[in-house]
């Protein structure tokens, strides 16, 4: 039995449930991430001026280990759909995997219903655009220009093909914020996107768009786990130097 994994997962789950209750009523203090600040501001402006936000969730199946980053994209989509539900041009979510596209539709629908605007929900705003990385990228590029998009966010698993979307966004004068779990994709987005989120910043996006305590508690748990990993790594180095390990 893998006790370490079980304890880590169990502890994280307990903290996720307990922390929001402890912190109820007090606003979470989040460090400034310039990319997310700019995305949030641009999103607000897009709702005001009646242009559209495009959220791309990437292509990996949720059954693979890369599916976690798409879940962060779905959590952001939930927040965005609530805030932009009555906008002239509602947000569009695109995915490169069928199950992910269905979840995007469900998430959009749930967001609209939560703010009492279920009648404004349009099923075609959650879309499957392709079944391979390049085909879904190629199908997403024209949406930037054709559907009056002013802000785009890539939150999910993207490889180097994200560079094509960045270039298309620049041509269409769209602010593109990119975040991916793939290191090669991150390098490409750093060089080409208007804003790039690095590493675990990808998972912070829902907390910055939400006033709810649960996403912020998720970040606190993530930070606690990161400190555990740092302590573990440093301890291993010391033990190795001392010849114990």
């Amino acid at each position: 039995m893998d006790w370490l994994g079980l304890v880590l997962a169990g502890l994280s789950a307990v903290l996720l449930v307990v922390l929001p209750r402890i912190r109820r009523g007090s606003a979470a203090k989040l460090r400034t991430i310039p990319g997310l600040t700019r995305l949030y501001r641009a999103f607000g402006l897009s709702v005001e001026d009646g242009s559209r936000l495009l959220l791309a969730l990437g292509g990996p199946s949720l059954l693979t280990r890369n599916g976690g980053s798409a879940l962060a994209g779905l959590a952001l989509l939930r927040e965005v759909s609530q805030k932009a539900s009555v906008s002239d041009r509602p947000p569009v979510a695109v995915a490169g995997d069928s199950a992910l596209a269905l979840l995007a539709q469900d998430t959009l629908h749930a967001g609209y219903r939560e703010v009492g605007a279920a009648e404004y929900y349009q099923p075609v705003t959650g879309r499957l655009v392709g079944l391979t990385a390049f085909s879904s990228t190629a199908a997403t590029m024209p949406i930037l220009d054709d559907e009056q998009v002013s802000v785009a966010a890539l939150i999910g698993h993207f490889g180097v093909e994200a560079g094509l979307l960045s270039e298309a966004a620049e041509r269409s004068n769209v602010l593109l914020t990119g975040a991916t779990g793939d290191p090669a994709g991150q390098a490409v987005l750093y060089a080409t996107a208007s804003e790039a989120l690095i590493g675990e910043e990808l998972f912070a996006a829902p907390a910055y768009f939400s006033g709810r305590p649960i996403p912020a508690a998720g970040l606190a748990v993530q930070d606690a786990l990161r400190w555990l990993v740092i302590i573990g790594l440093l301890s291993a180095v010391v033990l190795r130097v001392l010849g114990i390990l």
């Binding site: 539709q105 749930a110 390049f134 649960i214 990161r226």
Partner: protein, 203 residues
């Protein structure tokens, strides 16, 4: 009904997670994962209907790019019919894929190379800071170390600097990023498991 969906999703998630740590749950974990694979296959069919609906809507509303949507639908139905008649493993079907899909994706890859060069050139104009300079300098160093120069290969670059950047700086950085992403994935997955995020409660 919605509560039942949440309870089923949370319970299935916990059983699958427990299967990784407690051997008793491994068998039921495999069964649940097999069901998930079948559901993902069914989702592909629903996804294709969604694709048809979106493009039919564009044609119906005479939106910009409607012609391309028409071409896409014709190609989709033609490929579907051919697949039904010949079977997906038939040599002509494979030839069709090799003659259309593979070259189109390869062309996009080539286009990406040009986009990346353009993006790198524009990087300093867009984000004029120290990290951008370091990023570009590293990229140029790695290119010089990999390329065959007119006077032969730059041995110091190729033998020492490139391996050091690749195996120390880049590998260390990539591992750090991957650890961060793994922790984020764990917490995001657990948020879905404890029912804090519910991407499945729309309909």
């Amino acid at each position: 009904m919605r509560v039942l969906a949440i309870v089923l999703a949370v319970l299935s998630g916990f059983v699958v997670l427990a299967g990784y740590f407690v051997p008793t749950f491994t068998e039921i974990q495999i069964v649940l994962l097999n069901w998930a694979i079948i559901l993902a296959g069914a989702a592909t069919i629903v996804g294709v209907f969604n694709l048809i609906l979106v493009h039919a809507d564009r044609i119906h509303k005479r939106e910009k790019g409607g012609t391309y949507s028409g071409i896409l639908l014709i190609a989709l139905f033609a490929a579907f019919l051919l697949g039904l008649v010949l079977g997906p493993g038939h040599a002509d079907m494979r030839r069709l894929v090799n003659a259309v899909v593979v070259p189109a994706e390869t062309s996009l890859m080539a286009l990406l190379a040009v986009s990346l060069i353009y993006g790198s050139v524009r990087l300093l104009a867009r984000r004029p800071d120290l990290m951008s300079v370091v990023f570009l300098a590293t990229a140029v160093l790695m290119l010089l170390a990999s390329a065959t120069l007119p006077f032969g290969q730059a041995s110091a670059l190729n033998d020492f600097i490139r391996p050091w950047i690749q195996h120390v700086l880049a590998l260390g950085g990539a591992r750090g990023l991957l650890i961060g992403v793994a922790l984020g994935t764990l917490v995001t997955g657990l948020r879905v498991l404890v029912g804090a995020d519910r991407p499945y409660e729309g309909a």
